[in-house]
C-alpha cells in the first residue's frame, strides 16, 4: 500500500492515534487525577478530612459493623434479578466479610458478600458495601460520592460504560493502539536521540506542536509504554476470559487442588462455628511479618465462610514499601485462631505480575513517585493534544480549499476532549460544593453535572469551530479555556466558603490533601488564564488584518 515502511507507519500513527486519541486523552487525564484520588475524595467529602487511620480492631469495632450489614446493596439486588431463575430470595446467607484500606485512607471500606440462592451460575454472589469512620464505626452516607476513587478513577478504565463491559473494551483497544502508536511513533521519528531535548518555541506553530509532541512522547516513553501495557495486564481477565469459558472445569479443579494443598477450605462445611479473636490473629501476623523484616500494617482483612466450621481468616500486609499491592498473606482457622498457612514467597511469574499491576495501581507510600506519575500522565495528555493540533493545522488549509469538514470535526472533538474534559471535571467539583447537603441523590446530581457540562462543551465546541472550515483558528479554544480558568478559581473559593478550610488554614495545619488540591486548582486557573490571554493575540491580529483589507 505504501512504498516505504516509514510511510505505512506514519499512516498507522496518524489514524489510530487520531481515532483512539480521543479516548486515550480521557484515560490519561483521569488516570493522572486518579494518582491523587484519595486526596480528591477528601476535598469532596469535608466530613472525612482527618488523618489516615490504620485497620481498626476487628473484635471491638469491625465485627459489629459487619453484623449490621444483613443484606446486599439495593443496586446489587437490582443487578441480581437477571442472574437468578425465578424470584429473588427473601434472605441472603452471608458468605465472606472483608475490609480494605491503604495508607492514604481516613475512611474504611467494608464489604460483605452474600450467597445468591437459585443463581443460574453458582459462582455468582451479591455484595453489600459500606464506608465507615474507622474511629467510631459509624457509617458514612451512601450518597456521599467519593469523586476521586468512585468516579474519576473508574472513568479512567471503564468510561462508566458498564453495559456489556463496553467501556473496558474501548479502553483496552485504545491501550493496544497506544502501544502501536508508540512503536510507530519511534519508527517515524527520524532523530529520536539527536532531537531528544529539542524544543523551539520561537519557530512556526507546526514546528512547536511537533517538538512538544515528540518531547512529551519520548521523554516519558517508558511511562507511556508501561502504563498502556500494565493497564492491559490488569484487565487481561476481561479481554481473555479463558478461566470463565473454555478452561472453566480446569479452573474449578485448580481451585479444589489449591484448597487441598494449602489447607484453606474451598467450600463451607455446613456446620456452625464461633469466631475466635481476630485481633489476636492480626497481632500474630504482624509478629511474623516483623520477623521477616517487613512493616506490619494490615491492608486487607478477609473472613471466609463466616460462622462456618470451615471458616478461615486471611490477613494481608499493605504494600506500602513495595511496588506489589498487598501480600505476605497469613491464614488462620476462624474458630480457633490456629495458624493454617503462611503464603510462601511468590514464584517468579507471580512476582512479575504483581510488579506490573502494582506499578500501575500504586498503593505504595512514596510521594515523589506519585508526583512523577502525575507528570507522566499529564505529559501523555500534552502529547495527545499536540498530536490533534498538528493534525488540524496540517490539513485545515487544504480542507478549506476542498470544502471538506474533516479538520473542523477533529478540531471540535479536540476541544471537547481537552478543555471540555477539564470543564466537566471542574464543574463537578463546583457542584459538589454548591449542591445542598441534604439533597436526595446528591451523588447522582454531581454525576449529572459532570456529564451535562461535558455535553454542553461538546456542543459549544462544534458550534464555535465552524471557522476552521475557512482555514482559520477556532474561537472555541479560547472561550473554553476562559471557562476553565473561572471554574478552577471558583472551586477553591467555594471550598473556603462552604467548609472554612481556606489555604491559610490547610497549609498551617499541613493538611496536604485539601491544600494540595486547592493549590493545584489555583495553578490550573492561572495557567488557563495565561493561555486564554495568549490565544487572544492571533484573533486580534486577524481582525486588524480584515479591517485593513476592507
Amino acid at each position: 500500500m505504501y512504498q516505504t515502511f516509514r510511510q505505512s507507519m506514519t499512516w498507522l500513527h496518524t489514524w489510530f492515534g487520531l481515532v483512539l486519541g480521543f479516548v486515550l486523552i480521557v484515560v490519561f487525564f483521569f488516570g493522572a487525577l486518579s494518582v491523587f484520588d484519595r486526596e480528591i475524595d477528601r476535598w469532596a467529602q469535608p466530613a472525612t478530612r482527618f488523618a489516615p487511620q490504620p485497620m481498626p480492631s476487628f473484635d471491638h469495632l469491625l465485627r459489629p459493623v459487619f453484623e449490621r450489614i444483613t443484606e446486599p446493596d439495593p443496586d446489587a439486588i437490582e443487578l441480581a434479578r437477571s442472574l437468578v431463575d425465578g424470584p429473588l430470595p427473601e434472605k441472603y446467607p452471608v458468605m465472606d466479610w472483608s475490609a480494605y484500606t491503604t495508607h492514604r485512607d481516613p475512611v474504611l471500606d467494608v464489604y460483605v458478600s452474600f450467597d445468591l440462592p437459585n443463581a443460574r451460575n453458582p459462582d455468582d454472589h451479591v455484595h453489600g458495601h459500606q464506608t465507615i469512620d474507622p474511629r467510631s464505626g459509624t457509617q458514612l452516607p451512601a450518597s456521599d460520592l467519593k469523586i476521586g476513587s468512585e468516579f474519576f478513577y473508574p472513568l479512567h478504565y471503564s468510561l462508566h460504560l458498564e453495559w456489556m463491559e463496553l467501556g473496558y473494551w474501548i479502553v483496552g483497544f485504545a491501550a493496544l493502539s497506544m502501544l502501536a502508536a508508540l512503536v510507530s511513533g519511534v519508527v517515524i521519528h527520524r532523530k529520536i536521540f539527536r532531537e531528544l531535548f529539542t524544543f523551539r518555541p520561537q519557530k512556526q506553530r507546526q514546528r512547536v506542536n511537533l517538538d512538544l509532541h515528540n518531547l512529551t512522547g519520548v521523554v516519558a516513553l517508558p511511562f507511556h509504554f508501561f502504563f498502556a501495557f500494565t493497564g492491559l495486564v490488569i484487565f487481561a481477565g476481561i479481554y481473555f476470559p479463558v478461566s470463565e469459558t473454555q478452561l472453566h472445569p480446569l479452573v474449578e479443579a485448580h481451585e479444589q487442588a489449591a484448597a487441598a494443598a494449602t489447607g484453606l477450605p474451598h467450600d463451607p462445611a455446613g456446620i456452625a462455628a464461633p469466631l475466635a479473636s481476630v485481633d489476636a490473629m492480626v497481632g500474630d501476623a504482624q509478629r511474623r511479618w516483623a520477623a521477616r523484616g517487613m512493616g506490619g500494617d494490615v491492608g486487607f482483612l478477609f473472613v471466609n465462610h463466616v460462622g462456618d466450621a470451615n471458616g478461615y481468616v486471611s490477613i494481608y500486609r499493605a504494600g506500602t514499601d513495595r511496588i506489589a499491592l498487598t501480600g505476605q498473606g497469613i491464614h488462620y482457622k476462624a474458630s480457633t485462631g490456629a495458624l493454617i498457612r503462611e503464603d510462601p514467597p511468590e514464584t517468579a511469574i507471580a512476582s512479575v505480575n504483581e510488579f506490573l499491576t502494582g506499578l500501575h495501581l500504586q498503593h505504595f507510600r512514596h510521594w515523589l513517585l506519585r508526583f512523577l506519575y502525575l507528570f507522566g500522565g499529564l505529559a501523555g495528555c500534552v502529547c495527545i493534544a499536540t498530536g490533534f493540533l498538528f493534525f488540524v493545522e496540517k490539513r485545515k488549509q487544504q480542507h478549506a480549499r476542498d470544502g471538506v469538514a474533516g479538520a473542523r470535526i477533529v478540531d471540535a472533538l479536540a476541544v471537547a476532549t481537552i478543555t471540555g474534559t477539564l470543564i466537566a471535571a471542574l464543574s463537578m467539583l463546583v457542584a459538589n460544593r454548591l449542591l445542598p447537603e441534604n439533597l436526595v441523590d446528591r451523588d447522582e446530581w454531581q454525576k449529572n453535572v459532570f456529564w451535562l457540562t461535558w455535553l454542553a462543551s461538546g456542543i459549544h465546541a462544534f458550534w464555535r469551530t465552524t471557522v476552521v472550515q475557512d482555514g482559520e483558528s477556532a474561537p472555541a479554544w479560547r472561550e473554553q479555556t476562559l471557562v476553565v480558568a473561572v471554574l478552577a478559581v471558583a472551586a477553591p473559593i467555594l471550598n473556603w466558603l462552604t467548609t472554612g478550610d481556606h489555604l491559610l488554614v490547610t497549609l498551617q495545619a499541613r493538611y496536604w490533601p485539601v491544600a494540595g488540591i486547592d493549590l493545584f486548582l489555583l495553578a490550573t486557573g492561572v495557567l488557563a488564564g495565561l493561555v486564554a490571554h495568549r490565544l487572544r493575540r492571533p484573533a486580534l491580529a486577524h481582525t486588524r488584518l480584515a479591517a485593513m483589507k476592507s
Binding site: L196, F197, T198, V219, H366, L369, L372, F375
Partner: protein, 101 residues
Amino acid sequence: MMLLLAFLLSFAGLALLALSMERHWRQLRATQPLPNSTARLLRIVGSAALAISLTLCLAVDHASMASLVWVMTLAVSAFVLAMLLAWRPGWLAPLISWARS
C-alpha cells in the same frame, strides 16, 4: 534528601549528555568549537552522574520502586532540560564551566 540529590544528579547527567551534542553546545558557546575529547569527557561524566543517581535511588527504596523512581526522574529531568535549553540555556553554563573548548 538522597532522592533530591538523585534528582539533581539525573538532571546534571542528562544536561552534560545534551551539551556533548554539537547543537546544544553551540547554544552556550556559540563561537567555540566542541573538540572530540571534550565531547567524550562530557559523555563519561554525564553517564557517571546518571549511574550515581540510580545508586542513590537504590539506596533509599526497595529495588522494584527505585528503578521506577529513577526512570521517572529521568523523564522529568529531560523535560525540564529541554525547557531550559529553549528559554534559558545560559543557566546551564556553570555545568560545563570546566570543559575546554
